[in-house]
Amino acid sequence: MSARSVGVVVFPGSNCDHDTEYALSSVCGAIVRMVWHRERDLAGLEAIVVPGGFAHGDYLRTGAIARYSPVMTSVQEFAAQGGPVLGICNGFQILQEAGLLPGAMLRNQHVQFLSQPVSIRVERNDTSASAGLEVGQELTIPIAHGDGNFYLPDGELDRLEANGQVVFRYAGDSADANPNGSARRIAGVCNRERNVVGLMPHPERAAEDALGSSDGRFILDAFLAWRAA
């Protein structure tokens, strides 16, 4: 299989862009192009990652300003054509604001910024970021966010579950297992077409044993291997 060409979108305030670039290229072997948020040309790219950070300072709301950056129109077109898009943490929030993924993030339930490893359970293995994983598999990957408390009204949560759009859930029974208070322990979701996935944990921060866990590679490798049906 030839190496995949992946675009990593960079906003003013992105701060996981280089970690993501390193994990995708040096660890996973992809060819990475950094895409500045004012660019519109995604030609030649086979997958897009919207990385974590504080795009546009998260002024107003997380992701609210970034979602109107010029590149997002191209990302929306890319997704509409079935291209795989992965949003990590702030990237997930941006994809929610853009309407590419469902839900919104509230402030963490205890109003603290959380930076710690968490255990997440794979709920679906038919999405661009989880194909080939085992349902029920648990991955240890760090979170680092202040607004990761996934919210949708109950009726819409039911619909999300019925559509099989919950991709990852915070796992474990301890009081700390769902640290941000997410509805139904949701850590990651996909769109109905399953090519766009967002998750709050940072797989790029768990891509090598030297980082304490290499479980993030399961997600990054799955994402790089995914081909639209």
């Binding site: 107003l60 509230l106 963490n108």
Partner: protein, 82 residues
């Protein structure tokens, strides 16, 4: 004409407000025993050019819906000065 308006954005009543809860707890701990609940939010003072207050309101509605608030979790109210 130049119009001044204020747009209030708050979490919907049905949405838990972790910041408001923390602020309420703080007020209680300071000694304000009567505090039952706090909901926090923000407002935007917007100065804009429009043909009429009605036109300004229509424009502000769109701004609030598209940008200033996230309709999944937030609601908004608009006040337009005379």
């Amino acid at each position: 004409m130049n119009i001044k308006a204020r747009v209030y954005v708050t979490l919907k009543k049905s949405v838990f407000d972790p910041q408001g809860k923390t602020i309420a707890d703080a007020l209680l701990s300071v000694g304000y025993a009567g505090v039952a609940d706090v909901r926090q939010g923000k407002f935007f003072d917007v100065s804009l050019e429009a043909d009429s207050p009605e036109a300004a309101r229509a424009s502000l509605e769109e701004m609030a819906h598209k940008v200033l608030a996230n309709p999944v979790i937030e609601s908004y109210e608009i006040e337009v000065d005379g």
